[in-house]
């Protein structure tokens, strides 16, 4: 295989909205197959950082690299569009609010992008969709519309939709935050399965237990900077920084 040391590389990421600096010079690398959790209070910039990786929120400074290719290259508009669409096909993303396409069935939600972008025939795309939906335990609901599904089911379909593009990297933006507590686990199980398949994942989450169980590394962000990072046992059990300790204490109290 190719060099795995810096599969995802974020260099001096900087983002401002007017005078408000949301990301302050963040650098970070993720190895192939690694699972990194980003935690932190709301407004810390963790979602913005995640959304910068596939350029949904463009950085105002810094570089994002995936597998040796710069994602946020400076190119003329047309060329950039072509480039970013190719890059995004390699980066799956799962949103807090699922964002399934309500006018399409579960099957069509999954087959649309592969048919449009990878020139798969209908039969090939259907087979792919069935595989991916089976993987997330949603094959039975393949002809349903999103409005007929529970939140957990929607999110599993959204994961299958992203996986159908065979991405190299998966981004999860608070994938379980909008779910009823009893539905969180079914989505977590699917994410665990992805971890076992060695998918590279960057996960913005509020679920410390899940992060501790699944992730190789945890980043704690606050006010646009990475305050602390390390293996979950260190960050969760023996954090070095006061700010991390305070956040975790509040979070645990909040959960009770």
């Amino acid at each position: 295989m190719t060099d795995t040391s810096d599969f995802v590389r974020i260099e001096h990421a900087q983002k401002s909205f007017g005078k408000l600096e949301v990301l302050k010079d963040i650098s970070l690398t993720v190895e192939r197959g690694q699972i990194v959790a980003i935690i932190g209070p709301s407004g810390s910039g963790k979602s913005t950082l995640l959304r910068a990786i596939n350029d949904l929120d463009a950085l105002t400074g810094g570089e994002i690299w995936l597998d040796g290719v710069q994602v946020n290259k400076t190119l003329p508009h047309r060329q950039y569009e072509k480039h970013i669409n190719e890059m995004r096909q390699q980066i799956g993303m799962v949103f807090q609010h699922f964002n399934l396409f309500p006018h399409l069935t579960v099957r069509e939600n999954v087959t649309m992008a592969p048919m449009l972008l990878k020139d798969l025939s209908k039969a090939e795309a259907n087979k792919l969709a069935e595989e991916q939906l089976d993987h997330v335990g949603m094959l039975e609901r393949i002809e349903y519309y999103p409005s007929q599904l529970s939140g957990g089911q929607k999110q599993r379909v959204a994961i299958a939709r992203a996986l159908a593009m065979k991405p190299k990297l998966m981004l999860f933006d608070e994938a379980t935050s909008a779910l009823d507590p009893e539905l969180v686990d079914e989505v977590n199980q699917v994410m665990k399965k992805l971890a076992e398949d060695h998918m590279t994942m960057i996960i913005v989450t509020h679920e410390m237990d899940f992060a501790a169980a699944v992730c190789d590394r945890v980043l704690f962000m606050d006010q646009g900077v990475v305050v602390e990072e390390g293996p979950p046992e260190v960050v969760f059990k023996n954090p070095v920084k006061d700010r991390t300790r305070e956040f975790l204490r509040k979070h645990i109290e909040g959960a009770k």
């Binding site: 596939n54 669409n85 995004r88 964002n99 399934l100 396409f101 992008a113 449009l116 992203a162």
Partner: protein, 215 residues
């Protein structure tokens, strides 16, 4: 009330009603075209196009349709635009309706949750693919009813072209008043025919709306 007279002139009104229908259909087609282009301009990433779209909407909505028709029909020849009354009527009313439809179509597009576009773009779809595969199918359903309101207004606005002597319903009513001196009966007859046209158009739109919600 002179029913006998109403029955006697009725066939001539019916003929005029057909012209009103033709005017309405052509105006609606031109209006929808202008509306789609106007909405595209207003949502464009080019500032100049956005400005043109916004200017179109505010100029047309900021002036009476009757004045627009007069400028086109009476003022046109002065700047080299020669149109007969019917052409001027269709173009004037169509461009007018288009400004209202621009806002209807734009509204239905921007109401769609921005997460929809983001999800599409994240999968690698281009801006155009996201628009016609994800956004437009959803906003199309939302715009049928408000476009129906625009079409209702446009049918009634066709009465204005009587002022540039297109022989449609309103003009016909006025002409028969000249010879019969029965304004009540003549305008009533015209009104009834307008109502029938609008009722049928309304049912058609309601049917389309139901059909769009099911599939």
């Amino acid at each position: 009330m002179d029913f006998e007279l109403m029955l006697k002139v009725y066939p001539f009104f019916l003929e005029a009603a057909w012209l009103t229908i033709l005017l309405s259909v052509l105006t609606a087609i031109l209006g929808l075209t202008c509306g789609a282009l106007g909405a595209a301009a207003r949502l464009s990433r080019f500032r100049t196009l956005r400005f043109i779209g916004a200017a179109y909407v505010s100029v047309i909505r900021g002036t009476p349709a009757l004045i627009q028709l007069f400028i086109l029909y009476f003022g046109g020849p002065q700047i080299g635009i020669q149109l007969d009354a019917f052409e001027a009527g269709v173009i004037g009313l169509g461009v007018n309706a288009g400004a209202y439809m621009t806002e209807t179509i734009r509204g239905a597009i921007i109401t769609i949750d921005k997460g929809q576009g983001e999800a599409a773009r994240t999968l690698g779809l281009s801006q155009w693919q996201a628009m016609y595969k994800v956004i437009l199918p959803q906003s199309a359903r939302l715009m049928i009813r408000p476009l129906g309101v625009n079409i209702n207004a446009l049918i009634k606005a066709t009465a204005l072209v009587a002022a540039i002597s297109v022989v449609e319903l309103t003009y016909t009513a006025q002409r028969y008043i000249g010879s019969t001196y029965k304004p009540f009966e003549m305008f009533l007859l015209a009104g009834i025919l307008y109502m029938i046209i609008i009722y049928v158009a309304g049912r058609g739109i309601a049917w389309l709306d139901r059909k769009a919600q099911i599939t």
